[in-house]
């Protein structure tokens, strides 16, 4: 649909090396950014309408501007490479195939927020991406790109989905359990090691060099009115060509599924998870939605990490809910009561239903408990669980009731 921006280097041999990156315009954005004032960089990113691509969709420029002007101590940039949202795999590609794009994005961001130290938190299971990225960091140090006012520390996680939540990530970076922090204070005010901190997703930062080299207006124009640019959609499940696809954020879900070859197995679409496992499910009638932040919000779902999972007619929705309910029960960090206690209980109920020992009352209980917990927790993890709990049961109630014995 649009030209490739984020995936522009992917098909080149040795795309991950500094030499190849530089050969094709790499670090030109950094050269330009060094001539710009931090405030001007923040403004450029604001104008680009870039919105966070890790899950929350928060306007990136606005986030950068939250660092208190009066702060004289250190400011930290933390890259969230703890990709873990079910159905999402785009950051893995970026880390392996274009690590220098991330480094360049970090350099520019660091200048914008006046930061001298950046951390890249890579999920522990991503061993190959970690090795690739660490090698790129070494190349950047050897070339004098890093260590001249900006340093990068690469930090491996150890297996916890909750470390993808920005303050859970910060806690983990600080050497603790990945427990999200009570807010306020927000990370831009008091984050990692008690200093102002900006946490950005890998893909979000990879957008920065093109924004600087080609301009905010260009980037904004690629997208919709409220979200600029392209993004990488991870498409998987019952499609013929599961892969990562980069398109303008103005694409519709229907178009995206077609791009991925259409529905596989039965060939008939039943439902789609549009934004990673935490997104409320959409039925086959709801796929003309525009896949940007506001488009999905209006449709009662969310774009999240843009992990698109397609379910065909032969897929069981109750089984899908069972898989996700187990996921949330396992990944709950346990810190606050509503999430800790009810993710486990709801998993037990869904399990009982799928096993044929459920009651219709259980369906009402699950939905009611989920509603009571939504919005009450320390972080949005539970709200992510609530997405599937409520939407799968509400939109496919018949399929669940069919399994219930009373």
């Amino acid at each position: 649909m649009a030209e490739r921006v984020l995936m522009r280097n992917f098909d080149r041999a040795s795309s991950h090396t500094l030499a190849v990156y530089r050969e094709h315009g790499g670090y030109a954005g950094w050269d330009k950014a060094r001539q710009m004032e931090p405030a001007a960089l923040v403004e450029e990113v604001k104008q680009s309408n870039l919105r966070g691509l890790g899950g929350a969709g928060f306007p990136t420029g606005a986030k950068w501007s939250f660092i208190p002007k009066s702060h004289t101590g250190p400011v930290y940039l933390v890259v969230n490479a703890d990709e873990g949202e079910p159905g999402t795999f785009k950051d893995r590609y970026l880390l392996e195939k274009d690590p220098h794009a991330l480094i360049e994005g970090m350099l520019i961001a660091a200048r914008a927020i006046r930061c001298a130290l950046g951390f890249v938190y890579i999920r522990g299971e991503y061993v190959e991406p970690w090795r690739r990225f660490s090698a790129a960091v070494k190349e950047a140090y050897d070339a004098g790109l890093l260590g001249q006012g900006f340093d990068i520390v690469v930090h491996r996680g150890a297996g916890a989905y909750i470390c993808g939540e920005e303050t859970g990530l910060i806690s983990s970076l600080e050497g603790k359990k990945g427990w999200p922090k009570v807010k306020p204070p927000f990370p831009a005010i008091k984050g990692a090691f008690a200093q102002p901190t900006i946490v950005n997703n890998v893909e979000t930062l990879c957008c920065i060099p093109p924004i600087v080299t080609r301009g905010a207006a260009w980037f904004a124009g690629l997208g919709t009115k409220t979200q600029g640019g392209t993004r990488m959609y991870s498409v998987s499940g019952r499609v013929k060509r599961p892969a990562v696809y980069e398109t303008s954020v103005s694409i519709t879900l229907r178009q995206l599924i077609e791009l991925a070859g259409g529905v596989s197995h039965s060939g008939r679409l039943k439902a789609v998870v549009p934004g990673g496992g935490s997104a409320p499910i959409l039925t086959a009638d709801e796929i003309d939605v525009v896949m940007d932040v506001d488009g999905l919000k209006s449709a009662g779902s969310m774009i999240g990490s843009a992990g698109v999972i397609v379910l065909d007619e032969s897929a069981s929705i109750p089984e899908a809910l069972l898989v996700l309910a187990r996921f949330y029960a396992h990944e709950s960090c346990g810190q606050c009561t509503p999430c800790r206690e009810s993710t486990g209980w709801i998993y037990k109920m869904v399990h009982r239903i799928v096993d044929g020992h459920g009651r219709k009352d259980d369906l009402d209980t699950i939905v009611d408990v989920a509603r009571r917990g939504a919005g009450t927790t320390i972080c949005a993890f539970y709200d992510g669980a609530v997405g599937p709990y409520i939407s799968y049961i509400q939109k496919f109630r018949g399929e669940f009731e069919g399994l219930c014995r009373s």
């Binding site: 359990k177 990944e331 346990g334 810190q335 206690e341 993710t343 009571r372």
Partner: protein, 548 residues
């Protein structure tokens, strides 16, 4: 000072006050578990949510600081519904242990469920099972199933004692409080985690299965275990004497005093009340007849003591008061000595060798009223008195509380000195080796059996109160001395501890202007002494080891 409105009532508070505290000042209770004013904010239980105008959703009150113009509602339907939801979440995996749980009757799950829950339970699946009845050190019992994971105990060990023994392991609903496997909960403040645990997850091993809390009466008092005088509540079991092994005092709990001990008490003090009800308690006056102790009555006993005081010359009489005694007791002795011209009066027997203070509340001086004894002018030469006794120059030696044979002095010499005294009178609550050598034993009421005041090492005068009747015929020290003085023809001072204190404050400059009323429940400083605050907890000091 921000001014905010809660439930329609306005209040000014200091900047930085959170909404739970602001509401408390207005008499409005915001239910909560993980919040504790002495610990950092956790924000984990989610029970303290309130509605704040301009906030789209209910917000936790503990982590919200009062801001000028803030309007808070704690009784909206939404808040009530949220509280009901939070109670259900807390009880999903909670075991139905009430019938066997010591916390019943003072359990915040019970209390808040009755106030804010009252829903139809619908959890019919298997609850998560965790270890039960796990001893954590000598004083604390853990039941991990009952635990609501509020993390107060973990924060206590990190922030107050700085020892970091407790952690929350695993994650999700199999998260579990515990010690590092193989380690123990052995700091000197372990009992406090029982106080702050809102539920029956952490209970007192000493109190386990002893008596139901609704049978207990409570009296405000002062711990007599050291010179700090931590404020306590004495919990006594009067209603079910066949429970708790017949012990009248069931347990001690710390009482908040910002000037002395904040919310805490050390284990030495907390668990040191056993002697009040043990078999060494003296309950009747006794005299020695041919080496045997024979019971007698007060009339006979006091008559004999008064007689001895009259008979011997003042140079032949010595009195060893004790820094365990109250200001009133010591003042009575001072008056007696003045009346009779007795100069050999002292109080400092050495502390038993092993006693040491710690880095927080416990003082090396294990007596509650050393400062009182000093201020009342009872300083003397104990060694000189014992030496005179050994030389045969003391005919009447009246010893209060001390065990001179366990004070670090050479036993043979001290025994010989005591044995040379013609009339050795011993007064105290618990018999010891010295008691056994006395010709006359006068039983004294224990600290929980009488009123009085102690002066702590910083000069704070604090009231302790009678929680139970004296055992047997035991009397307060000032009462015994007062009756002896009456028998000697000295003017009567009074029949209550307060009478003696009034007289004391008139005569001793340091106590000028103090009354029981002025002392109240929080204590008052002696003349010229600066106001005090509880010491900084070890976990919060700049040089604290990183444990959190």
């Amino acid at each position: 000072m921000p001014k905010l409105t809660i439930d329609g009532k306005e209040i000014d508070v200091e900047a930085g006050t959170n909404l739970i505290e602001a509401a408390r000042r207005l008499g409005i209770e915001v239910p909560h578990y993980c919040y504790h004013p002495g610990l950092s904010i956790a924000g984990q239980c989610r029970l303290c949510m309130v509605d704040i105008e301009k906030a789209p959703r209910p917000t936790i009150a503990c982590n919200t600081q009062a801001v000028d113009g803030m309007v808070v509602h704690t009784q909206t339907d939404r808040v009530k519904e949220t509280r009901r939801s939070m109670m259900e979440f807390h009880l999903i995996n909670h075991p139905l242990d009430c019938p066997v749980c010591d916390q019943a009757g003072e359990c915040w799950l019970q209390i808040y469920y009755m106030k804010h829950g009252l829903y139809e339970p619908r959890m019919t699946d298997e609850k998560v099972h965790k270890p039960k009845a796990v001893p954590l050190g000598p004083h604390v019992m853990l039941d991990a199933e009952r635990c609501i994971l509020c993390s107060r105990c973990v924060r206590f060990c990190d922030e107050i004692t700085g020892t970091g023994e407790l952690g929350i392991f695993n994650r999700a609903d199999y998260s579990e409080i515990g010690l590092f496997p193989g380690h123990d909960l052995q700091n000197n403040y372990s009992g406090n985690v029982v106080d702050i645990c809102p539920v029956g997850a952490l209970t007192d091993r000493d109190f386990r299965f002893q008596v139901r809390v609704w049978y207990l009466d409570t009296t405000k008092s002062i711990c007599p275990g050291c010179a700090r005088g931590c404020n306590v509540d004495v919990h006594v079991n009067r209603k079910r004497p066949h429970h708790a092994g017949g012990r009248r005092v069931a347990r001690l709990k710390p009482r908040f005093n910002a000037a002395v001990n904040a919310w805490w008490i050390c284990d030495v003090g907390r668990y040191g009340f056993g002697d009040v009800d043990d078999e060494t308690r003296m309950t009747r006056p006794q005299r020695r007849v041919e080496g045997q102790a024979v019971d007698t009555d007060w009339g006979e006993a006091l008559g004999a003591v008064a007689d001895a005081l009259r008979r011997y010359s003042p140079e032949e009489i010595a009195i060893l008061a004790s820094p365990k005694q109250s200001n009133e007791d010591l003042f009575a002795l001072k008056r007696l000595c003045e009346h009779r011209g007795i100069r050999q009066l002292a109080f400092r027997a050495p502390t038993p060798p092993a006693a040491a203070g710690d880095d927080f509340l416990l003082r090396a001086d294990r007596h509650p009223n050393t400062r009182g004894a000093e201020l009342l002018g009872l300083e003397g030469d104990v060694a000189g008195i014992l030496s005179a006794a050994g030389a045969g120059r003391i005919k009447l030696l009246w010893v209060f509380e001390h065990d001179l044979l366990a004070s670090g002095w050479p036993i043979a010499e001290t025994t010989a000195a005591l044995d040379r005294v013609e009339t050795l009178v011993w007064s105290g609550a618990n018999a010891n080796a010295t008691t056994a050598r006395a010709h006359r034993v006068l039983p004294l009421a224990a600290w929980v059996e009488r009123d009085g005041t102690f002066t702590n090492f910083l000069g704070r005068v604090q009231r302790f109160r009678a929680a139970v009747e004296p055992l047997g015929e035991a009397l307060a020290g000032w009462d015994v001395v007062g009756r002896v003085m009456t028998a000697l023809g000295a003017p009567a001072i009074g029949t209550r501890a307060e009478h003696w204190f009034r007289e004391l404050s008139k005569s001793v400059a340091a106590f000028a202007g103090l009354t029981y009323q002025a002392i109240g429940d929080g204590g008052a400083m002696i003349a010229g002494a600066a106001p005090t605050t509880a010491p900084a907890p070890p976990g919060r000091r700049a040089d604290a080891k990183v444990t959190a």
